[in-house]
């Protein structure tokens, strides 16, 4: 889960990392009010996407009147495809130099990694490797202060600035471990003309699997409405832009199913991993959810291990019965545990099950294109 900039900075500030004075606002009047308190301000749209500056999402105002009119202009506008409903209004900084500083999970190294650079304020992916300082931290020992001094030295920091940098890095590492983050990033970390370092922008991406132990941290809803409903139902669901609805069991096979549909010239409408061992009820819910988006066809691809094919068949029949038909051609591929039972349940409802993935994918692509691929609802099985 990604936090908005203003939320990340609240967490940073709680850990003692200096951030610019400012407030999050939702109206032009509030923006004017903050400006009258702080003087010259930066007004920044709060969206969960990078590249705001280039998209016109960061503006500067010298007077409350200007802040009000800029805020009025930004609120409600779309920036990088996202509607702006809140702004962070902050005191404008007198910038001397910009650094990059982050702590992230390095999956390949199985350890946290600190990334620092003198090239701050830009997309870190565009910074050449030789300008990045990367240091892994063994989670068993944690981050010791001498390593923050080493990294500061590498950035050519000295004296009071080096001391501030060490302090901020130690605190950022605390934020990273203390909030179960996948990424805690300050970009840019600004050296102001008065010699003080401040986190001018902040990102904090939290581990979804660890949110349960952080009731104090804010929650940010991600994804479309259907994606949120799916998430609440415990399904692993991603919306795509095609017209063939897909349900499979297991992340790998679900991805492969989408690839195979594409291989046969079709366009998948979603990723839906029903998981291993899902029962009739959750699978019926999953199918309902898929049909609610009005796809042109439905493909159910099951390799039954813990998942039982008869449960899958019952889920399909349950939805079809409740809705008076599935409403779209459905292609079902069933292999594995209780396969025969599943196949006969489907057959009683004039649905034919395939055993080869290739044939099933080809059939559903044909059905979505208007041909006769599947079985239900005026599309009798072959």
């Amino acid at each position: 889960m990604k936090l908005f900039e203003y939320m990340a900075k609240e967490v940073f500030a709680r850990h003692g990392i200096p951030v610019p004075p400012g407030r999050v606002v939702a109206s032009p009047q509030e923006a004017a009010q903050v400006c009258s308190e702080l003087g010259e301000v930066a007004i920044k749209v709060q969206i969960l996407a990078g590249g705001r500056g280039k998209a016109g999402g960061i503006r500067f105002a010298a007077s409350p009147a200007e802040a009000e009119s800029l805020a009025a202009d930004l609120l409600g506008r779309e920036v990088r495809g996202l509607v702006v409903d809140r702004l962070l209004v902050e005191k404008k900084l007198a910038i001397d130099q910009e650094f990059y500083l982050a702590v992230a999970v390095d999956g390949a190294a199985r350890r946290p990694v600190i990334i620092a650079s003198t090239q701050g304020g830009v997309n870190i992916e565009e910074v050449p490797e030789k300008l990045l300082v990367k240091r892994h931290v063994d989670p068993a020992w944690g981050l010791h202060p001498y390593r923050t001094r080493q990294i500061g030295r590498r950035l050519d920091l000295e004296g009071a600035v080096a001391r501030q940098f060490s302090d901020i890095l130690l605190k950022l590492y605390q934020v990273f471990t203390g909030s179960d983050a996948e990424l805690a990033e300050i970009n840019p970390l600004v050296l102001q003309k008065d010699g003080r370092l401040v986190a001018a922008d902040g990102r904090l991406n939290l581990d979804d699997d660890a949110l349960y132990r952080h009731p104090d941290l804010p929650r940010v809803a991600e994804g479309s409405e259907v994606e949120r409903r799916a998430q609440e139902a415990g399904l692993s669901y991603v919306e795509l832009d095609g017209d063939i609805a897909v349900m499979a069991n297991g992340a790998g096979i679900t991805m492969a199913t989408l690839d195979i549909i594409q291989h046969f010239g079709g366009r998948p409408a979603n990723f839906l991993d029903a998981g291993g061992g899902a029962g009739v009820e959750p699978m019926a819910q999953a199918i309902e959810l898929l049909l609610s988006r009005s796809p042109k066809a439905l493909l159910v691809n099951i390799f039954g291990g813990i998942t039982r094919c008869d449960d899958v068949a019952r889920a399909i029949v349950k939805v079809a019965t409740a809705r008076g038909g599935l409403g779209v051609p459905a292609v079902v591929r069933l292999v594995g545990t209780n396969e025969q039972e599943g196949v006969s349940i489907l057959r009683e409802h004039s649905l034919e099950a395939y055993s080869a993935m290739a044939e099933a994918a080809a059939a559903v692509v044909k059905a979505a294109a208007g041909g006769n691929g599947g079985g239900a609802d005026g599309h009798p099985g072959r």
């Binding site: 999970v105 999956g107 390949a108 199985r110 350890r111 991603v238 992340a251 790998g252 990723f271």
Partner: protein, 304 residues
Amino acid sequence: MAILVDERTRVVVQGATGNQGRFHLAQMLAYGTRVVAGVSPGKGGEEVEGVPVYDTVEQAVLHHAVNASVIFVPAAFAKDAVFEAVHAGLGVVVVITEHIPVHDAMSMLAFARHHNAVVVGPNTFGVISPGKAKLGIMPARAYSPGPVGIVARSGTLSYEIAAALTAAGLGQSTVVGLGGDRVVGLNFVEVLKRFEEDPGTRVVVLVGEIGGTAEEEAAEFTKGMAKPVVAYIAGRSAPPGKRMGHAGAIIERGRGTFDGKVKALESAGVRVAALPWEVPGLVASLLQAGPAPEPEARPPASED
């Protein structure tokens, strides 16, 4: 021959009295795996399928000389369970549990590393050496003994590929599930290394997916391998920035793409199947072309 687990592996199931633990303990026993003990704190003295249950892994080691564990405990307690298994001196710890916080995973893997224990997973389907032992949740009938090593990030996709190989008469030496999480104990390179040294393996099948850099690192490693490698990568149609079921299956900031992985593998000489059902054909052709297995086993390589 096989890697990681075989008929000598003596297994303790941690979380043996839960639903998943009970069910899969029975399945593993039925397969012929030497499951000799279970552990569930507070349930010491009970039995599951005739297997004695203890309160601690230490007791299981004391009474049954167990050397491997399969963990089914809930995510919130999984870190503790892995520490316990590693502390008790077990060499192979298979973590089935999914949704373990990534900071817990990093911490338990660091502990295992310092104790030279191998952790498989988390969020893995386990490890099976067909005909010898099964430590995990995979459907047994997909497998048969033979010369093909399989290493995969995903469960069901690898079942599908193993079943297709089995149907084509191409059995497996060992099948290893790395796990779908972003941070896992074993990676492709470490498993490829073991397959390369295993006299029972003649061809390796690598089942990868988008996200991370593990496939690219594997591609680099295969350049020095004598045994041929076939790969299938899932996620060609996945959009960037979306987590495709597995925590690790996400294209982030332009990294972990399908094209990048396929390019790396192909330029290393790996045969990449465009579709899963092409894997058996590629494997069969390499088995025919490849050299006969060495008559003499190489000495076991030392760890790292």
